[in-house]
Each structure stands twice: as C-alpha cells, then as structure tokens.
C-alpha cells in the first residue's frame, strides 16, 4: 500500500478509533462509587484495592473510612434524606432488621440469583449469607467480612499449670480461677466490662455459651430468665475474682491490650484481632498464644458466635448496577483472598479458609472454618429493637459488675424496660 495522503489519513483515523474504542471498552468508565466503610481492618485494604477495580472496570471507588458512630449517623442521614450520597455501605450484622424495615438498601436476592454462577454462592458459608444481611427473607446486604468468636489463650501458662485448653464453659471458668494469681499480676479471665455496647456484647456472647438467650421462642425479651441470671452471676464472679482489677472499665481496646500485655490467660474475642497477638511491636506474648473454637456449656449444641459486616447498596444510589459489580468483585475468590493476604482478617469463603497460602500466613484459619461451619449469628438479636436492648443490658450488666446491684434485680429491671419496646 502506497503511503498516500489518503492512506495516511485512514491509518490515523483507524488508530484514533482503536484508541477511543480501547478506552471505552471498560464498562464503568466515568462512574464514581462512594463507599462508606467501618474503620475495621478491611477498610484500609479496600481503599488500597480501589485503583485495581478502576483498572479492571473503569469505575473510581472512593472509600470514606468512618468510626462506628459516624458510619451509622452519616448513612442514616443519607437514607432519610434520600440523597444517595453513598452507593455502597458496610453494614454491621445487627443492622439488618432496621435496614429491612425501612427498605433503605437494594434487595439483593434477584441479583444474587441472576449471577449465582459468577458469585459461586455455595463457596460462601451459609451462616454468613444469612446473618450478615438477610432479615425476614430480604437480603439487605451481601456478606463481606465474617468474624468468628474464638478463644485466645496463653499456651505457656496452660502448660505450666498442666492444663489443656478448655472445651466447655465449665472448664473455662474453672481454668480461669486456677490461672489467677494477683501476686504475679496474672489473671485467668478478661472480658469487656465498660458500660454500654462493650459489656452488653461480651456478656451476650458468654450468656449464649452458657445456655442463656435474650429473646424467648416467641421472639419477645426474656432478659430475666433463670439461665440468664445464672450466667450473669458466673460472669460477675469471674470479674470479681479472676479478671484484672480494672476490667469493669475495659472496652474492646482495653481488653485486647490486657491480653497482649500478658495480664490475662484467657480471652474470647473476634478473630479479626488475632493477627495482633503475633506482632512483636504491640504484643508481649508472641509465640505464646493459642487460638481455639470458643467453648460451650457442657451438653449444649456446638455452635459458635459469628459477627461481621456486609456490603449493601443504597436504595437511592444512582449507580446500583456498578455498585453490584463492585460488591461481586471485592467478594470474588481472587480479590477476597488478596484482601486477606493484605491483612484484612475478614473471611467469607470456604475456599479461602482452605487456601494453603493463607493458612501458611494465618495458622488459626481452621478454627475460623470450624466456627463458621457451626456458626450462630443471632445470639445478639438482629431485630429493629436491638440497639435499645443493647443499651439496657449495657447499663444493667455493668451495674452488676461494679457491685451496685445483684444479677436478678438488674435483669428484672432490664426486662421491664425491654418489654416497653415491644
């Protein structure tokens, strides 16, 4: 072909078309997705992965990392005003009831059904699919970051005392007393004691493990049941005789710190904090920590507490399909594994908990897998009234721990307050 002016012009034109077509080939070019994210370990990782999503799809993802209170306040304001400021929102396990009641987020069942092959739904633990976003049959959020309640314990102290890690609550309580020696600044137990969500959430966990329940079979409050009073009595005694003296004032940070500083021999905690025990910059107990499934009361079914976060699409978002593409992408096998390799501590898929590379990095993954296989995401009732119930229990349980009242009176009073909500 001779290089005539005409041919050159044609070449230039086809080159320009190829370039523009190449750029337009990305399906979400020009779209910006605003994500409101809880400030957990996954948030920074999600922000780091955002440019990769842009490379693959063309959409820009802006991650707004917020503390729990701000996330709830800002997203609620967004829902009420129908402003669609956020397209994607991380949702706590206990918010599902409220989101479903107000249709604040997109119902995801049709989308999940449509793309089930691409998502590989069977690879996601059913307990996470249900508890991290399904309420009353509606899927208001897609599971994103599953946390398992696990037992972290000091292998060196257990070995020195000739004890095996506890498999029942009764053993845990007995071990807690045996391993307490205030003269050596060593305590057998630690949990959240501070008034508010901190103590309420930890006690609800222990309460479920000791056979108690917040609601009765009819779904109404049963705070002062005999089992709950018994479990609160055990919890109080542990605080008074086997916990660090300041534990009644601990929230999650204080509790984790007391364990990392070597004060406490046992602690039940969310699996997301576990990587911190292996970090010599913040932990005095590196190499002396074991992680096991959380104990249950003798004779009770083996179920384990599950918590975590889902990803929801704002019902007022102008980019719902793009938001769904992002959710599918970040929860896909490849990207979710990548996220966890980067330290997100947020598990979701059976395949990633079996993944050799992840297991080599985080030796406690089989414990999380076991917990998810037999997980219970409802020991904290995921109902619209939950925040008020948590508040009532947060005051009642703390008052018992500091000796202001006894378990029965506190729970009787709490029951009266909770009944008014229904």
């Amino acid at each position: 072909m001779a290089l005539t002016k005409r041919n050159l012009l044609g070449l230039a034109m086809s080159g320009w078309f190829a370039l523009t077509l190449g750029a337009a080939a990305k399906p979400l070019d020009g779209v910006t997705l605003n994500v409101a994210s809880q400030n957990d370990q996954f948030a920074a990782v999600m922000a780091k992965l955002a440019p990769q999503f842009k490379d693959e799809t063309g959409a820009t993802v802006k991650v707004d990392i917020l503390d729990y209170g701000s996330l709830l306040t800002k997203t609620t304001a967004d829902f009420i005003a129908h402003s669609g400021g956020y397209d994607v929102i991380t949702t706590d396990i206990v918010w599902a009831g409220q989101l479903a009641a107000n249709d604040s987020t997109v119902e995801l069942r049709p989308l999940i059904k449509r793309d089930s092959k691409e998502i590989d739904v069977d690879d996601i633990y059913p307990v996470l699919m249900k508890s991290l976003g399904n309420y009353g049959g509606k899927q208001v959020s897609f599971p994103f970051a599953g946390y398992a309640n696990v037992l972290a314990y000091r292998t060196d102290l257990y070995k020195a005392a000739g004890l095996k890690p506890p498999s029942t609550m009764e053993e845990l309580v007995a071990d807690a007393y045996k391993l307490t020696d205030p003269a050596k600044k060593q305590y057998g137990f630690v949990a959240n004691g501070q008034k508010g969500p901190a103590v309420a959430q930890d006690w609800m966990q222990y309460n479920a493990e000791m056979g108690g329940s917040i609601l009765n079979a009819a779904g109404k409050p049963a705070l002062n049941s005999a089992a709950n009073i018994k479990s609160l009595t055990v919890y109080r005694d542990l605080f008074q005789k086997a916990a660090p003296p300041g534990a009644a004032d601990y929230d999650w940070g204080g509790r984790e710190e007391s364990f990392r500083q070597g004060l406490s021999a046992n602690m039940q905690t969310w699996s997301v904090g576990a990587p911190g025990y292996y970090d010599p910059k913040m932990s005095k107990i590196v190499g002396e920590v074991g992680i096991e499934v959380a104990p249950r009361g003798a004779g009770l079914p083996k179920v384990y507490g599950v918590g975590g976060w889902g990803l929801a699409i704002n019902a007022d978002s102008k980019h719902k399909e793009a938001a769904w593409t992002f959710i599918k992408w970040i929860t896909s096998k490849k990207v979710h594994k990548q996220m966890n390799m980067m330290g997100a501590g947020s598990f979701l898929r059976k395949s990633e908990l079996r993944d050799p590379e992840l297991n080599a990095k985080f030796p406690f993954l089989p414990v999380i897998a076991e917990s998810f296989e037999h997980g219970d995401g409802d020991y904290r009732p995921r109902i619209p009234e939950y925040p008020r119930i948590q508040d009532i229990l947060g005051t009642a349980v703390n008052a018992v721990l500091v000796g202001n009242t006894d378990p029965k009176s506190a729970l009787d009073e709490a029951q009266k307050a909770a009944e008014k909500l229904f």
């Binding site: 306040t73 009420i80 501070q194 004060l263 703390n398």
Partner: protein
Amino acid sequence: MAAPAALYVLAFGVYPLLRGVGYSLYDYNLLAPRRTHFVGFGNYADLLGDPEMRRALLNTALFTVSAVTVELGLGFLIALALWRDDRFNRICLTLILIPVTITPLAVGLIFKGLLLADYGLVGYWLAQWGISPRGLFASTATALPTLVFVDVWEWTPLTALILLAGLKALPTDLLEAAAVDGATALRRLRQIVLPLMLPAILLALTLRTIDAFRVFDIVFVATAGGPGDATTTLMLLAVKDGLSFFDIGRASAIANAMLLCIAAIAAVYIVLIRGADRRANGR
C-alpha cells in the same frame, strides 16, 4: 443596619430552636419515619417518669455545682497570684493555659489511659497503694469526682484568665488610696476588689456553668456514663437518644429541658449578681 444580624439570629438561633420545640412534640424516629405521630407533651412526661433521666439530672447538677465552684475559687486564687504584671507571671500565665488548648475528647482519653488500674501510668500506682484497686473511673464512688477533677484541670485556667482580666481593669488609685489609709489586704479584697470584680465573676460563672451543664466529651470517652449510671449526664442521654437511636423527638425534649435549666440558672445568676452589685456599688 441591624437587618443582617437579625437575619443571622433568626436563621441560626430562632429557627432551629423552634424546630427543636416542634420535634419534641412528636414521636419521631429517623429509623422508623413512617411511624411519626404527634404526642403533645408525651416525650416530656416520659422524661419525668424515667429513673435514668432523674439520675442524669442529679449527676449533671452535682457535676456542675462542684466543678464550677472549684474552678471559680481556684481560678480566683491563681488570678490573685498572677495579678502583678512581671515577666515571671506572664510566663506562668502562658503555661497554665495549656490545658485549655487541648480538645476535651483528647483530655478524656488521656485521663482514661492514665487512670486505668492495670496498666495506666497513674492508675497502676493508685491500685498498688490500695487507694483505688479497680481504677478511679471504674468505681461508683469515685467516677463522678474524678470527672470533676478532669474538668477542673482543664477549665480552671480559663476562669483564672477571665478573673485576671477583671483584676487588671481595677482602678489602681483606689486600691493605693485604701492601702495608704491603712486598709488591710483582706479588707481591700472584700470591700474593693470583690465588688468591682462582680461583672468578671458573672461572666466566668455563667460561661463555666453553661459549659459544665452540657458536659459530654470527657464523660463519653472516659466512662460512657458508667459505672452503672453513676456518671450519666443529660447531654450524654440527649446524644445517645438523638445520634445512636435517632429518636429525634425524645432527644429534642431533653435538649429543650436542658435549655430551660440553663436559662433559669443564668437568670438567677444575673439577678443575684445585679443585686450584689447594686448593694456594693450603688449601681
């Protein structure tokens, strides 16, 4: 000429206030907006019957009275000590103002960290010596007094500064004449300094009372209102109802009740101090 100012006050003062009064008459929750309905004074009646609210009112009153009394007394002593205008006093004044510059939320977190019984820099030793085995914030008896101490630590310098400004504005010739006439220091303080200082005292008293009455930050981070309800304050309840439960009706009712309390206290101050001023200075 006053139109912009009047517009400003209407837009940012009167309008939100009236909206707040309006909201307080409704059962209005942002999480269940479809259930909104008029309840009249129902929210106020609920507050009166709520034991947590009564306890919060008592705690707020105790906190305000103790904190403001100590801050005013201590602030006055500091102002007297720094009255003379020399380089040493100017350096001291700059240094004692440091706590005022720290945001209260950070102050609450710092004291919480310091006073933790198990590994706090101060709390550890208090526990070792048997003074506070569980931590000052973890005991019902000491939590509120400790919060008062934190507030005093942070805000006494401000009252000292206001009172010092009042002292420096006093007519020196009057004080010198009294000294020449043989009036003792105590008599000069009682009969000249204090009466002339009444406007500055009123300012410090009103500012600190309003501020202490709506205390939130340090309580929120240091005790969350606990142990039990030993440090629950009115503002803590209002914020919890408004921003945790999104119960705008109830939160507005608490805020309005607080506004009424503060207005009543300010009115009492003004009447008392004006009376004292009239008696002392014949104004």
